[in-house]
Amino acid sequence: MPERIRHPPLDKEKMEKPETEIHLIKDECKGCGYCIEYCPRKVLEESDEINARGVHPPRIVDGSKCMDCGFCTAVCPDFAIFVTEKQKGEEKKHA
């Protein structure tokens, strides 16, 4: 359909986006960068800090973009990242 969309959807508020929390175990990370590379929403990037293994672990750019696909968990060779769903009403914490 070629029309330009000018009005927000009427049921916008009803739509729920998964609220997630991304947990990084920084010192487990070996800096392979798979999670950064494969995140479909580009939630992660390489940080400047250096962890116990002497590499740059990832950093969360914008946690609200996370869709809880869980691919980072699946792809991490060192079990250094996992995502949990936030319970409703729970206060937003910065991961």
């Binding site: 029309e3 959807p9 009427l10 916008k12 998964p18 995140c39 696909c69």
Partner: protein, 833 residues
């Protein structure tokens, strides 16, 4: 068929010895006596259309003095039964072996007169027409003397060409009994069903995930207030289940090659990522994390990354929007839908594929877009939440739409008490939008106002209009009903819509032109009645199928009255809004008409193609291969061993660009031979050449554009004499040189716009040749403004007319020395022939 082709080849390579092709003994005897051309000239008055500005009797008298003319007369309507009967009688009694009719455009009546000639036993290629209406009387309405002089010249040209005409036999081409319908709106659906029910295989290509088009999005139809999707859904379902229809949704036509009866089409089937096993249970959408506005609801509702645009979609198979899906090619990061699908219908490995199909006819039913009113800042669309378009209104009032049929103000989701409709948004305006009337908006608004009254009778409704056009069957009744129900119609569009920032209510300010007073109306919601415009991608379809479009962007029919659903390109037909804005009833009517027209071709199973293929003279051929290079159809091959070229006639499109390229005169085009065109040039330049322009026009665009200038009575000076060729690619440098060598003041070469050429790209050669000529003229110190190149489409009559006006100065200012110099420079052109 094969033998027919060979037969024609034989005839073509045999030098003309005065024999016609008639087989009967009796006719052969007659043919022997016809070694000398015996031309009959008929000058038509066309009522006062021609006689009003041309002295037809004088033209006929003049024609009688021309060489080979044995009979010349003027009559009121040559195309009438009596007129035709007269020609037939003269062919038999006066033993005419050539006929010239000076009347309207050959694009209109050439087939009529050719048929009359054939009926009387004369080969139809022995007929020639002089266009003294569209190219003469209608464009020189107030200059009887010049118009008469020009008409004489045009007749002289036709007679000169007629004397050299040769009979030809047309090849027959078989027609594939399959059809392609482009576009799955109501027009495409109707055309496809009609063709499929007749028994032909139909391919329907739709670029959206579902068929249904614009009608599926509308709530009710006027004037009967039927539920739109309720009457459309069964038809959509019929298309989906019809054994003769192959439905290709989410697909686009990528390439079209071939010609009438034999189109080779490549269709790009984009990956859907959901297989036909999908049962449309909807489990996948529950788990899909992606949310986006649903385009089908103009963004007023949401959909997921995997979705179906609407409940009645055909096919009902879901689709994954890969632009939004978390998964990218080769990497599946999110498999929630895959896990939710019981039938394992989701396949992320699906690839886009190209399907090649062979069809005989094509129905173009690509529909129309709607006008985007955000370009009109005074109405605040896109800025004020409560200003919506009529299309958004349809989705809001639709029970299956985003608000379940409640007309809600987008700002606070309350039902409005006062509603204003603004008509002609994007239509009938030279300042913003399009010049034309979009045909459907008036009735659509009346229907919409009644719908509101039906659900919420207390709503105050105001319609701001320019004119209410309720012209169709039952339309006036509906209009009256709306007025009776209390809908207030106010003449005069609002100049501006302003918003109350707190309540988001609107002020409509303008002038009531009937009462001559300023109004300031408060409304809770304003609905902009937006017009229809041609599809943004119709240019692509135009190029793929070599069609023409009018100045409004809609596809141009072969004849506005008598062939309203045919394209000028054979085997292609139009249905629905692709041809012009129209309502559902008209779209369906036109679709059935298009299906009928396509059906006629396919029922016949064969079609004859014009005998306008190349005519080789092998003894002159140097096997240089230039013709092979310029042929757009690859219809010429070079046999290096035999040192000669071979022509594949069935593949030839008939542009004649090969003949124009040949430097040795080893190739010419049947029915547009070098001799015939030279004879026309000579006829023009015989007298007062220094006051005339020799104009070459291609049959499909510029000649049709000149016709359009005539039909529209655009007046231009009478210095130009038009020579018709099929393509501007036929115009050889030799012709231009000859015109100058004979003292012509100016030459105009005109054709279709680059990219729009009817013969793929033959007009690229035209450009090269003209540029070469300009260079040559410059080098020899000639004013190159005397040679003009014009690209004009069939709809650009004004462009053609203004070119002729512009060239008048050039013609008037050409000095005798300049004419003489050009004669010297190009004198070789005369020696060659």
């Amino acid at each position: 068929m094969e033998s027919g082709r060979q037969n024609r080849l034989k005839i073509a390579s045999r030098p003309w010895n005065g024999e016609t092709l008639v087989e009967d003994k009796e006719d052969k005897r007659q043919a022997k006596q016809e070694e000398q051309p015996r031309i009959g000239v008929y000058v038509c008055h066309c009522g006062l259309n021609i006689a009003g500005s041309v002295d037809c009797a004088d033209v006929a008298k003049y024609a009688a003095t021309l060489p080979n003319v044995v009979l010349a007369q003027d009559n009121r309507y040559t195309c009438s039964d009596q007129g035709q009967a007269g020609i037939k009688k003269d062919i038999k009694e006066q033993r005419l072996n050539r006929v010239v009719v000076a009347s309207c455009s050959p694009r209109l009546h050439e087939p009529t007169f050719r048929k009359a000639c054939e009926d009387a036993g004369l080969n139809k290629y022995l007929f020639e027409m002089a266009n003294i209406r569209e190219h003469c009387s209608w464009v020189h309405l107030y200059d009887r003397e010049s118009a008469t002089d020009k008409a004489k010249d045009l007749v002289k040209m036709a007679v000169a060409k007629a004397a050299l005409l040769q009979p030809a036999k047309e090849a027959e081409v078989p027609i594939t009994r399959k059809a392609l319908v482009i576009g799955g709106g109501v027009a495409g659906i109707q055309a496809a069903l009609d063709l499929a029910d007749t028994g032909y295989k139909v391919y329907m290509v739709e670029k959206e995930p579902s068929i249904g088009g614009m009608m599926a999005r509308i709530d009710k139809t006027f004037p009967t207030m039927d539920c739109s999707i309720c009457i459309l859904a069964p038809k959509m379902s019929d298309v989906g289940h019809h054994p003769n229809i192959e439905l290709l949704t989410n697909s686009e036509v990528a390439e079209v090659k071939g010609y009438i009866g034999n189109f080779h089409v490549k269709v790009l089937k984009k990956a859907r990522y959901v297989t036909k096993d999908c049962s449309a249970c909807g489990e996948c959408i529950k788990v899909c994390p992606i949310v986006a506005p649903n385009e089908f609801d103009v963004g007023l509702a949401t959909r997921h990354g995997i979705y179906t645009p609407f409940a009645q979609a055909v096919p009902s198979t879901y689709i994954i929007d890969m632009n939004l899906c978390l998964n990218k090619e080769g990497i599946i990061t999110c498999d929630k839908c895959v896990k939710a699908c019981d039938r394992q219908a989701i396949n992320f490995d699906m690839k886009s594929e190209t399907e090649e199909i062979e069809v005989g006819t094509i129905v173009v039913a690509t529909g129309a877009d709607v006008f985007d009113p955000s370009v009109l800042p005074n109405y605040g669309y896109g800025k004020y939440p409560n200003v919506i378009t009529s299309l958004e209104f349809e989705r809001l009032i639709n029970a299956g739409g985003p608000s379940a049929g409640h007309l809600l103000r987008p700002s606070d989701k309350k039902i409005p008490k006062r509603v204003a409709f603004v008509q002609c948004v994007g239509s009938r305006s030279d300042r913003a939008g399009k010049l034309y009337c979009s045909n459907v908006c008036c009735m659509n608004t009346i229907k919409d106002s009644l719908l509101i009254k039906e659900h919420w009778p207390d709503t105050e409704i105001y319609v701001f209009y320019v004119d209410i056009r309720a012209f169709g069957k039952g339309f006036e009744d509906l209009y009256k009903r709306a007025r009776k129900e209390g809908v207030v119609f106010i003449r005069g569009l609002p100049a501006e819509i302003r918003e109350n920032k707190k309540t988001h209510s609107l002020w409509l300010i303008g002038e009531n032109t009937l009462k001559r007073e300023i109004y300031r109306l408060n409304a809770d919601m304003a609905i902009l009645s937006i017009g229809l415009e041609s599809r943004k991608d119709s240019e692509m379809i135009q190029r793929l199928l070599t069609l023409s479009r009018n100045q409004d962007g809609f596809f141009l029919e072969a004849h506005p009255k008598l062939r309203p659903v045919d394209a000028a390109t054979g085997g292609i037909f139009f249905a629905g809004c692709a041809e012009g804005p129209k309502d559902i009833k008209d779209s369906v009517t036109q679709a059935s008409a298009a299906a009928g027209r396509a059906g006629i071709l396919m029922a016949q199973g064969k079609v004859t193609v014009e005998a306008i293929t190349p005519l080789p003279f092998p003894e002159k051929c140097k096997a240089c291969g230039l013709c092979v290079k310029v042929c757009p159809y690859n219809a010429i091959t070079l046999d290096k061993e035999k040192k000669r070229v071979e022509i594949i006639e069935a593949a030839c499109g008939g542009c004649g660009t090969c003949a124009a390229e040949c430097a040795f005169g080893a190739l010419t085009q049947n029915h547009f031979t070098d001799d015939q065109i030279n004879a026309e040039i000579d006829a023009i330049t015989e007298k007062d050449a220094d006051k005339k322009t020799v104009a070459f026009c291609c049959n499909w665009c510029s000649y049709a554009g000149a016709d359009f200038a005539g039909v529209s009575r655009m007046q231009y000076p009478p210095h130009a004499r038009i020579i018709r060729t099929m393509c501007s690619g036929r115009v050889s440098q030799k012709f231009v040189e000859r015109a100058f060598a004979r003292g012509a003041a100016a030459v105009l070469v005109s054709g279709c716009h680059i990219g729009d050429c009817h013969y793929i790209n033959a007009n690229v050669q035209t450009q090269k040749r003209v540029e070469r000529m300009w260079k040559k003229m410059e080098q020899n110190g000639l004013n190159k403004a005397r040679l003009q190149l014009l690209w004009a489409s069939a709809a650009e009559g004004e462009k053609f007319a203004s070119k002729i006006r512009e060239m008048e100065k050039t013609v008037a200012n050409v000095k005798p020395e300049e004419i003489e110099k050009a004669k010297q420079v190009f004198k070789k052109a005369l020696e060659e022939s």
